[in-house]
């Protein structure tokens, strides 16, 4: 099967066994790869499962564009039923893992069960072993990766969890390639619940492709186009940190627990300060010319970190009002070793800071710690307690929605999350399309399915018309990259023409398939994940799509979006338009006809039988 390795590796951690299954051609046709494979496997195999129990699956999926001659061909998807939301959860990570999986001969690895003692999976082409990892348990995520690389060799690609994953923190992440993470939805906690400390993969095989000459021609054109783009120098120099100053200027930069979209202390954490004070070099994912990763040294703390990139600078910098780049980078390093998603950590800790300053909590809950905005030592202390579930960390480890439920006093109104997933780096009270994007992202409040802020600015911030249609369009095309297992940034940030990807498809797979048909697979996955939510969460629907009360009642106090908020009526207009266009009913559930039209007749039948839809 051109473009595919042709096998899925199954690992039963309860038994310590592993076996290989041929990749089902129909799965590949309907779901393409990456998130597509993950979504269907999660749907089929985790009905009613406890996310932190042995019945949950942890899927590591690669896809047809990974490991082959095209820009950034190595974006892996880690997926599971999320312990944070109870819905389909996933996180993507770049680096070299998705490519290496293909070289080893696998399109995906699916873990089931749970080991009794800490283990790691060792994959060396066809030689697969579940090995003891007791010596690694308790080590930092990066520490553990380094130890395994030293032991096994530089050419192994490794994914690890840190203490946060081991302690089942609901926003624990999975780490890879000395500083990249599969951050969101608590995939690290699922890995920890299976006592799986690491996955180590090495492969020596080639990825079969249909038309080598066509691949050479198209790939080469793409690589040279990016290489000679005048904006490439900007990306090399500043990476994604350069988005910070811009986002702040348009009022989208989360500040003090999303109380504003404008941070007055932005200068100390901007891309100039980053380049001058801490960046040592550029770090790229596999075959990516953009090298958006920045490898940094925080001399005053004696630590290295990859980053901080936009999200981390937004959620730790602006959101916790920490205004020195060295402090943001240090906090980034801590989260990376502990194995905490920096987005959720910055969100949860920012919330804690607001609660402390407002008197919702006091020193008796914080164990004597003074927790104020701007204090990196407080951030560090909280991050450590969260990772070990100690003291206040035991409350925070279950996420911001839970913390607000425990502390009450109206704090639910500013627990900035949707569906149990903490909001990421864009304050959206001045951007209705972006607000809608957050409301309708399948995994909860995340920005990567649809990024629509410039659309709001270009079309007019107040406008509602046309926003839902744009969000839906983006929700199909951006995730298509995750199905293909290639990073979308060469298109998103360098403007590489989508036509190249349409040409790559037949060159790699030998299949004659239109771009529209590939997008349809993406639409199928979107609806499948919505159906999964409807099945797994009783009463799931419209009520789960609304943002926190702060966003629908409180005007932004400062910056370019001063005065903006989006009231309930407008939110309903956006949702009604969105549901209508998607073929979902007024409750926000996919209609049977919509599911059948996407080839999900079995899913429709199941939901009808359960009485979830008519």
């Amino acid at each position: 099967m051109n473009g595919y390795a042709g096998s899925i590796l199954r690992v039963d951690l309860s038994k310590g066994t592993a076996w290989s299954e041929p990749l089902d051609a129909k799965l590949a046709e309907d779901y393409i790869g990456g998130r597509g494979f993950a979504a269907r496997i999660i749907y089929d195999e985790t009905k009613g499962a406890d996310p932190l129990g042995p019945e949950n699956r942890l899927v590591l999926a690669s896809g047809p564009f990974a490991g082959v001659f095209l820009p950034a061909g190595s974006k892996a998807t880690f997926a599971a039923k999320s312990p944070a939301t109870g819905l389909y959860g996933d996180a993507n990570v770049g680096g070299h893992l998705a490519a290496e999986l293909k070289y080893a001969g696998y399109d995906a690895i699916v873990f089931q069960g749970a080991a009794e003692h800490p283990v790691y999976l060792h994959v060396d082409d066809d030689k697969v072993e579940v090995r003891d990892a007791s010596a690694l348990w308790g080590q930092g995520a990066i520490q553990a990766e380094v130890a395994l690389k030293e032991n096994l060799g530089e050419d192994f690609q490794i994914a690890t969890i840190g203490p946060a994953g081991e302690n089942l923190v609901k926003f624990a992440c999975i780490s890879h390639d000395i500083g990249r993470q599969a951050g969101r939805t608590g995939v690290g906690a699922v890995m920890g619940s299976k006592k799986l400390k690491a996955i180590a993969v090495r492969g020596s095989k080639s990825v079969p492709v249909a038309d080598v000459e066509a691949l050479k021609r198209v790939g080469r054109e793409m690589f040279l186009k990016i290489k000679h783009d005048p904006a490439l120098d900007v990306w090399h120099k500043y990476g994604l940190g350069s988005v910070c100053t811009w986002a702040n200027s348009i009022g989208a930069f989360p500040t003090r627990n999303f109380s504003s979209g404008y941070f007055e202390g932005i200068e100390g954490i901007d891309h100039h300060h980053m380049r001058e004070r801490i960046i040592v070099g550029n770090k790229a994912c596999f075959a990516c010319p953009m090298a958006c990763g920045k490898f940094s040294r925080v001399k005053e703390r004696g630590v290295w970190v990859e980053g901080p990139e936009y999200e981390t600078t937004a959620l730790i910098g602006g959101n916790c009002a920490i205004d020195r780049i060295e402090d943001v980078a240090y906090a980034n390093y801590l989260c990376d070793e502990l194995g905490l998603d920096t987005i959720s950590a910055g969100n949860v800790i920012g919330f804690t800071m607001e609660c402390f300053e407002k008197g919702v909590i006091d020193a008796s809950q914080t164990g004597g710690l003074a927790v104020r905005f701007g204090d990196v030592e407080a951030f560090a202390a909280l991050a450590n307690r969260i990772a070990r579930r100690e003291g206040i960390g035991a409350v925070l480890a279950d996420g911001v929605r839970h913390a607000a439920a425990v502390w009450g006093k109206g704090s639910e109104a500013y627990a900035i999350q949707i569906k149990g997933l903490e909001w990421s780096g864009y304050e959206s009270r001045g951007a209705p399309a972006m607000m809608l994007a957050y409301m309708t992202a399948d995994i909860g409040a995340h920005h990567n399915r649809a990024w629509a802020i410039t659309f709001d600015i270009a079309q007019g911030r107040e406008k509602v018309e046309g926003k839902a249609a744009k969000v839906i369009e983006l929700q199909h095309i951006r995730p298509l990259f995750d199905l293909l297992a290639a990073c979308r940034l060469p298109w998103v940030e360098m403007g590489l023409d989508l036509k190249y990807y349409a040409e790559l498809w037949p060159a790699v797979t030998g299949q004659d398939r239109s771009w529209e048909d590939l997008l349809r697979a993406s639409e199928r996955v979107y609806n499948l994940n919505r159906a999964y939510a409807a099945r797994e969460v009783p009463g799931f629907g419209r009520e789960h799509d609304y943002p926190p009360e702060r966003f629908s009642t409180t005007p932004v106090p400062t910056g370019a979006t001063q005065g903006h908020y989006i009231d309930r009526q407008k939110l309903d207009e956006l949702l009604d338009d969105y549901y209508g266009l998607r073929g979902w009913d007024a409750r926000g559930l996919p209609q049977a006809a919509t599911l059948r039209g996407l080839g999900l007749g079995d899913v429709a039948a199941e939901l009808v039988a359960l009485g979830r839809i008519d």
Partner: protein, 81 residues
Amino acid sequence: MAASIRLRVKLGGNLATLAGKAQADLELAEPLPLREVAQRAGVSPQLVMLYAVNGTVRPAEYCPGEGDEVLLVPAVAGGGI
């Protein structure tokens, strides 16, 4: 009478799609900050993430000089507009 300032402005990514042109050659009577240069080139400064003058990133207040090449870099080049 002040000499005019000729600038070549390149529009990156979808800024070009939005403005209907990939390049704008301007002649200014007096020095203007980059954010106003963007406006003259038909681009809203709100959509410009970074300005580069002759390959060096400059703040929005910087005034380019005669013969300079200005690059307008958008935050999102694909799928943003």
